[in-house]
Symmetry: C2
Subunit: 150 residues, 2 copies
DNA sequence: ATAAAGTCTATTGATTCACTTGACTATTTA
DNA sequence: TAAATAGTCAAGTGAATCAATAGACTTTAT
């Protein structure tokens, strides 16, 4: 049940970009900055951000003063979308996936116990990830930081 | 977020074994039978059942009339236990794992947004898998089968 | 003794993961 | 306008993991 490094790096990068967006929506952030801040190999991060851009979640500008920025507002980008782009379906097994259904070998899907439980798991994961936006993440971080100051 | 074939095969096998247990607790089921019923490569299944036996969930007898059977009652074996034995921790990232915690590189775990969300995901998965026993699975299958007969 | 079962260890081939390399393109500014 | 900066794109690589396979060995019942 694991999130890949690719997925993890992508999520961390998007959180940084969301943070920059909150300060000013047109802030450009360079790969290099994110890479240093989160200790992510730069060239690897490059591919990840590109994938996110091709999926329509990021925009970028080349050249001096260029960089990446969110294509939509942080409240309109869910962690579920990010993970699906970088790591594929959320479902533990494909016969229970919404985005990439595939039959498993069981005699009857309607009475397959494993499928029922894994369906529940998929829904639990999707409920969290699809209903958590980058905005929500930033909020939670701010609250945690504020509480630490006491 | 995927369950490996190993995990899937193991769960399917345990469900069959639980079913046999319900008919009579001392029923022996051979690897071969499970392998044919669920279309699992026999030699692979062998390793999986052995791992489950070494984890104390199964018992076995060699020789003619031998086979595998549950070491505990179906209501005392959770899917969570099975998955952990075969696939390792349920947590999407290790800094949020109960059974295999490991620090990630983030500056402060207490204010890491990703960690908070992934903690929620871990708990959601564990809540389902740790609170679903083999007995529960059998019940759901029976109910589904009964409903199909109308 | 023999056949039927599980046990144990090792190996394999394919795939995936986590990068790395390097050449190319667009944009700014001196 | 050329030099510097930043993203784009395609390919390759080494290690690890996955999903099996192979084969010798042990235990048990008849």
């Amino acid at each position: 049940m694991r999130l890949s490094k690719r997925g993890e790096y992508g999520l961390r990068a998007m959180i940084i970009l969301a943070h920059a967006y909150k300060e000013s929506p047109d802030t450009m952030v360079q790969i290099r900055e994110i890479s240093e801040q989160d200790k992510i190999p730069g060239k690897y991060l490059e591919q990840i951000l590109l994938a996110l851009k091709n999926a329509g979640m990021l925009q970028s500008r080349m050249g001096i003063g260029g960089g990446y920025y969110l294509a939509r507002q942080p409240q309109d980008i869910s962690l579920g979308q990010i993970v699906r782009v970088l790591d594929g379906p959320l479902a533990p097994i494909r016969c229970v996936s919404q985005m990439a259904y595939e039959a498993c070998g069981c005699p009857d899907e309607r009475t397959c116990g494993l499928r029922m439980v894994m369906g529940d798991v998929r829904n639990a994961i999707a409920d969290i990830l699809d209903n958590t936006s980058l905005e929500n993440v930033i909020e939670r971080m701010d609250i945690a930081r504020a509480q630490l100051e006491n």
